[in-house]
């Protein structure tokens, strides 16, 4: 029987920027759902959904009960994937920041009838 491509599990866990943000935050230490919600300015149902995916893959574990549940990143390092994606994210973020600034200039020029 052919083995399933296991790399897609970890990859899928970090394919989305929201989950990458949670992983990067948990790399700094344990957090509760509310702490993650506040730190990342994400909605709680979305955070919970991401945590479920990350738990499914085994990237995060949880201890405690009820409101006091604390999530932590499991031992293994995701630094290679972080290093791989970061420059690409940076390039596009900077490029689209420049576009945003340029659009402000276009609006100004329209307004003054140039």
């Amino acid at each position: 029987m052919a083995r399933l491509p296991t790399t897609t599990d970890v990859f899928n866990a970090v394919a989305e920027p929201g989950r990458r943000d949670i992983v990067n935050l948990l790399a700094q230490g344990e957090r509760s759902v509310n702490e993650i919600v506040d730190a990342l300015d994400m909605k709680q149902p979305q955070v919970s959904k991401h945590l479920r995916v990350l738990k499914e893959v085994g990237l995060v574990s949880v201890r405690g009960a009820g409101q006091q549940r604390l999530y932590r990143l499991n031992g293994a390092s995701l630094k290679p994937i972080h290093d791989w994606i970061k420059p690409f994210e940076h390039l596009w973020n900077e490029r689209l920041d420049r576009l945003a600034g340029y659009l402000e200039e276009m609006k100004r020029q329209e307004h003054t009838g140039e």
């Binding site: 990859f11 920027p17 730190a39 945003a100």
Partner: protein, 162 residues
């Protein structure tokens, strides 16, 4: 803490999806993206200069950007327009001139609500290797093996074998 630019690199298809919201009507965003006199101002980082910025905006028309680095090296990108539906949609091929044969298809959609525009860029690559290589070096071979070992390790920790 969140970047305003959202980048999704799917595990199950060779795509990159980039999304961002702009505080401007889509006709301006579309113009900024399709007229060379605008593109020159924002597309490249400040340490690269445009030596070529050509856009022939019609189905089958070609576009070409060449950017020069401080060391004199030039980087060329180009492709062909497939669909042009101003101000809402633009579909074109794109490739890096130094590496022919690995072109990808980009679909840009411009959705406007209350004067703000959500730009979505969906790039579809010919293979995972092409997609991963475009994101950055390190994903071929070595990194995939690393992820494989990591995934097996995580499953073993959970008491599963996959």
């Amino acid at each position: 803490m969140n970047d305003p630019t959202s980048i999704t690199i799917a595990a199950d298809e060779p795509t990159i999806v980039i999304t961002r919201e702009f505080d401007a009507p889509r006709r301006l965003v579309f113009a900024a993206w399709t007229q060379p006199e605008h593109v020159r101002y924002w597309y490249g980082p400040s340490y690269l200069t445009f030596t070529v910025c050509q856009i022939d905006l019609r189905p089958g028309g070609r576009w070409r950007y060449v950017l020069r680095a401080p060391d004199g090296g030039e980087h060329g990108f180009g492709g062909e327009y497939r669909e042009i539906t101003p101000p809402e949609r633009l579909v074109y091929t794109e490739g890096y001139e130094a590496m022919p044969g690995h072109d990808y298809l980009v679909t840009l959609t411009f959705d406007e609500q209350d004067g703000k525009t959500t730009l979505t860029s969906r790039g579809v690559y010919q293979s995972f290797a092409d997609r991963d290589g475009h994101v950055g070096s390190g994903m071929e071979g070595g990194m995939r093996e690393t992820l494989q070992r990591l995934s097996e390790h995580l499953h073993a920790m959970k008491g599963e074998t996959r």
